[in-house]
């Protein structure tokens, strides 16, 4: 366990963002909450620069897709305070027709590739990103493969039927 408990952490965040923090939970002891898109950069800046918390390390930026929800695409930020050895997970959900996020590259240069990957697989457009293009898939791909919009296998394929393999 870190030097700061989750309660203290949540208190110091709520002191500044009382109205914005929702859906607080602690899965596996990791403080997790949701916040609006307008406040995310402000919150990340606060967490990084606050002299007590010092969440100076951005572990990961990724996304998640819940097709049945009203706001299906969620962008997830994992921060790690190397000083206090405590982690936090922040989620921001956006509507389907408006998958835009402000970029975190203004705070961490490491966010550059993470955001490119998130754009590559989920189609989240990070406004203000210096070089937003695909990073892992081929450039001419038109889909975002990690979204739950596609069948797991093309039902019309015949080239991998069992009888070709003596099964």
């Amino acid at each position: 366990m870190g030097k700061i408990t989750n309660e203290e952490l949540l208190t110091s965040i709520k002191a500044k963002f009382e109205a914005d923090v929702t859906e607080v939970s602690e899965p596996f002891g990791l403080l997790t909450f949701e916040i609006s898109r307008e406040k995310i950069i402000e919150l990340l800046t606060f967490l990084k620069t606050d002299p007590k918390l010092q969440f100076i390390y951005l572990t990961d930026i990724t996304a998640i897709h819940y097709p049945e929800r009203e706001k299906p695409i969620g962008v997830i930020y994992h921060l790690h305070s190397l000083v206090n050895n405590v982690r936090v997970c922040i989620k921001v959900f956006v509507a389907d027709g408006d998958v835009h996020m402000p970029t975190a590259t203004v705070l961490w240069n490491g966010a550059n590739w993470m955001e490119r990957e998130t754009y590559d697989f989920f189609g989240v457009v990070f406004d203000g990103h210096p070089d937003l293009r695909r990073i892992l898939n081929v450039d001419d791909m038109t889909v975002f493969p990690m979204r739950k919009e596609y069948p797991l296998e093309d039902p019309n394929r015949v080239d991998k039927r069992d009888y070709f393999f003596g099964r």
Partner: protein
């Protein structure tokens, strides 16, 4: 008699001090016992190929001692492992840079058909972008299977006619891949 085994001479006319046979048989013999492979290894099959190259299995016995990591003097492109769609153009460029005559060997399930990676990002067999001569099944194939595939290639090389690369069928095959 010694234990040294020598390759049999091709069929021909033998006499005192001379031996006559057709040029393509001699060329095939020479080419097949000095194939220079270009190993294009991406994953586990590449490791298995390293075992094939190492002393226990010793691919060098077949005249393939010099692995060319440049397409410049290579005869045989050995594709081993998963080829993703992003790697496809690179593999194609390597193939295009090889001089004729050239042969292609697809080793393992991934290179032959995409294998277990039935995915949007993986090429479902390298024969979608370049012509293939021999496929080695297995996941990964044992070194014995690689040697068998290599010997199949040698058979092809030995029996290939000298003008095969100029035939309209071959040109048509290459044209179907958009080469030249």
């Amino acid at each position: 008699m010694s234990d040294i085994q020598i390759v049999d001479a091709p069929p021909g006319v033998e006499g005192a001090g001379f031996f006559a046979t057709s040029i393509d048989k001699v060329m095939g013999l020479a080419r097949s016992y000095s194939l220079w492979p270009l190993p294009f290894a991406t994953s586990c099959c590449g490791i298995e190929f390293m075992a094939t190259m190492s002393p226990h299995y010793d691919l060098a016995r077949f005249g393939a001692e010099r692995l060319s990591f440049s397409p410049r003097q290579a005869d045989l492109l050995m594709v081993m492992g998963t080829i993703s769609k992003k790697m496809g153009p690179v593999l194609r460029q390597v193939y295009l840079q090889m001089a004729e005559p050239r042969w292609v060997l697809a080793m393992g399930a991934c290179a032959s058909s995409g294998g277990i990676f039935d995915t949007y990002s993986v090429l479902q067999g390298i024969d979608e972008i370049i012509p293939v001569d021999v496929y080695i099944p297995g996941c990964p194939p044992r070194p014995e299977a690689v040697i068998d595939g290599f010997m199949q290639i040698q058979k092809l090389v030995q029996t290939e006619s000298l003008r095969r690369r100029d035939t309209p069928e071959y040109q048509k095959l290459l044209a179907s891949y958009g080469i030249q």
